[in-house]
């Protein structure tokens, strides 16, 4: 049976020699879990010596030149693939330069979805799973992602690392919502879903299709017999353009979640390039929780406090959550005002996203900010200051995953 017949997604592995880093089995395992397989675009070995000049980027490492040659083989259709995974060693400057330029090159010259990642020897299949799941979804289920209108009575549950969100939608409207902290994954999902159903005034049996997303998607999806179990990159980009009413054309989605953050470059609601993660939880909602706790305010009050402050007055580095808190303690000890500290915290998170994530995707307007942290007013303000562009925070931006899941699940109502 051919790969096409088996529904296997072919992903070109464009790497600097991940097989030498001990992570290749993890790559293979993650690919197998999403029914994909890695292929290595064929190239002429002699071309490696000249590809740098041809590509315009001359580097010393042979495997990095091999990456350029393989990218060219993909773009020119010498090797047919459904997606490209570009990866180099973490902490290698030469590798990072090539990784970024190869990603831009493929994105510019083809419509093939691309993700890039820098690995360490500790990279696990679990870390890669969400990324590869998103890549294969874009390749495999474009028809599902083309959905722009929610139909019927559907629900979505987003089991996030910090909070669990649920929505019930009917005929393109949100009629019920639930938002609870994630404590026990299943119990929290039950509670959030029950709240959403109660507000909507419908029973579980009446719901025609259910979609789940977020870290706990597999567990709750199985529990609730969901029609759609989908990672948060595609679901959130879909939810973002839907809520912001920007379904056509380009958009950039930034999702600051409880544990990680995502930057997604979207075209007609379909993710093209995306990155996920950050150096540390310092660029996530968790950092805001800790800041709020230390400042003695509710997290819902942190945003309003930050808007009153001036970030320039406090030096804060949230590259690491521990050092971030250390900066906070030091600045408070020096007599800094809580509003300035709150503003600095927002700026610090946004700065890390800018430095880590937004370098990996092309920022195109509109920029849609979603996730729980988007409700902290200081965050969109800081992002606007940093990028000098208008940031859109759609209504219900914190429910993005649940809305995206309910919207995509409505594809199963008609099916």
């Amino acid at each position: 049976m051919s790969a096409e017949e088996a529904g296997i997604v072919k992903i070109a592995l464009v790497s600097c020699g991940s097989e030498y880093s001990g992570v290749q089995p993890e790559f293979e395992e993650a690919a197998a879990r999403v029914n994909a397989k890695f292929v290595f675009p064929e190239i002429d070995i002699a071309s490696i010596d000249n590809i740098g000049k041809e590509f315009g980027l001359e580097v010393a490492s042979g495997d990095l030149r091999l990456m350029m040659a393989r990218a060219k083989a993909v773009v020119e259709g010498i090797t047919h693939v459904d997606g490209v995974f570009i990866t180099t060693c973490f902490r290698c400057a030469e590798g990072a330069i090539v990784r970024n330029e190869v990603r831009r090159y493929i994105h510019k010259h083809s419509n093939i979805p691309v993700i890039s990642y820098s690995f360490t020897e500790r990279t696990s299949a679990g870390t890669l799973l969400t990324r590869l799941e998103a890549l294969t979804t874009v390749a495999r289920r474009r028809h599902l992602l083309a959905r722009e209108v929610q139909t019927g009575l559907t629900a979505g549950i987003d089991s996030g690392s910090t909070t669990t969100k649920a929505v019930v939608m009917k005929d393109n409207r949100i009629i019920g919502t639930g938002w609870v902290p994630t404590i026990k994954v299943l119990e929290s999902a039950e509670e959030a879903y029950s709240r959403a159903l109660k507000e909507a005034g419908v029973s579980r049996e009446e719901v025609q299709a259910l979609g789940t997303t977020g870290y706990g998607r597999f567990l709750i999806g199985k529990h609730f017999n969901a029609q759609l179990i989908q990672e948060e990159i595609t679901v959130n980009s879909k939810g973002a353009v839907y809520l912001a009413d920007r379904q056509k054309g380009p958009a950039t989605v930034i999702d600051i979640g409880g544990m990680d953050n995502k930057a997604i470059s979207v075209e007609d609601g379909i993710p093209g390039m995306f990155t996920m993660g950050g150096i540390c939880a310092g660029a996530s909602g968790r950092f805001f929780e800790m800041i709020s706790k230390r400042l003695g305010v509710e997290i819902t009050e942190l945003g309003a406090l930050a808007v009153k402050g001036m970030q320039e007055k406090v030096t804060m580095n949230s590259y690491c959550i521990v050092f971030g808190i250390q900066s906070l303690v030091n600045s408070l000890a020096k007599g800094s005002a809580p509003e300035d500290v709150a503003a600095a915290a927002c700026y610090s998170v946004v700065e890390q996203i800018f430095e880590q994530q937004l370098q990996e995707v092309d920022v195109k307007e509109p920029l849609i900010l979603v996730g729980g942290s988007s409700l902290i007013e200081g965050v969109p303000k800081a992002l606007e200051e940093l990028l000098k562009i208008k940031v859109l925070v759609p209504r219900n931006s914190h429910l993005i995953g649940a809305v995206g899941a309910a919207l995509l699940a409505s594809g199963y109502v008609e099916e």
Partner: protein
């Protein structure tokens, strides 16, 4: 017979030349062969495991990328055995290449640090240069001790055997 480290470390041509002159080439192919033929958990195709970059810590610090340390886990032990070395500068890719220039820089440095007899030649651009290139390598290989090392090696082996026997006696 001398153990000759070759650079590029996967150059078949250099490995062949070294063998023809009666020496043992220290080439990465042998290391990889060992990896893929040893029956163990990390047999092919999973022949390099996350343990290898940790072994590579012997040669490069933790902030050095895992790709360099993983490669050094294979190449480092060869450098430790090195009794002589041939380094070819600016070779084309098909002459041999381990793919990562940071690894190249590190392995050449470690070889030079050993201060063993080393021939450094530039890859030839013309036919005439090619003759000179092969001549230089041949002359270098000719100059390396053969018989003496064989004796030394035998002695070394005997010593290991003796140590083993002593160890067994102690255990008993």
């Amino acid at each position: 017979m001398a153990k000759v480290f070759i650079y590029p470390v996967n150059s078949l041509i250099l490995a062949d030349l070294v063998e023809r002159y009666g020496h043992k080439p220290l080439a990465v192919m042998n290391q990889v062969r060992e990896k893929v033929t040893n029956i163990s958990l990390d047999s092919p195709p999973v022949n390099i495991t996350p343990e290898d970059p940790k072994i590579g810590l012997r040669y490069a610090a933790v902030e050095v990328p895992p790709g360099v340390r993983g490669r050094m886990a294979l190449i480092g032990p060869l450098i430790e055995e090195t009794e002589a070395a041939i380094i070819v500068e600016n070779p084309p890719t098909n002459f041999g290449c381990v793919g990562c220039n940071r690894t190249n820089e590190l392995m050449k440095y470690l070889v030079r640090e050993k201060e063993v007899p080393t021939l450094e030649v530039v890859y030839p651009e013309s036919e005439e240069d090619a003759r000179e290139f092969v001549y230089k390598i041949a002359a270098f290989l000719e100059s390396l001790p053969k018989e003496k090392d064989k004796v030394g090696e035998k002695k070394g082996e005997e010593k290991v055997e003796e140590e083993k026997a002593e160890g067994q006696e102690e255990e008993q």
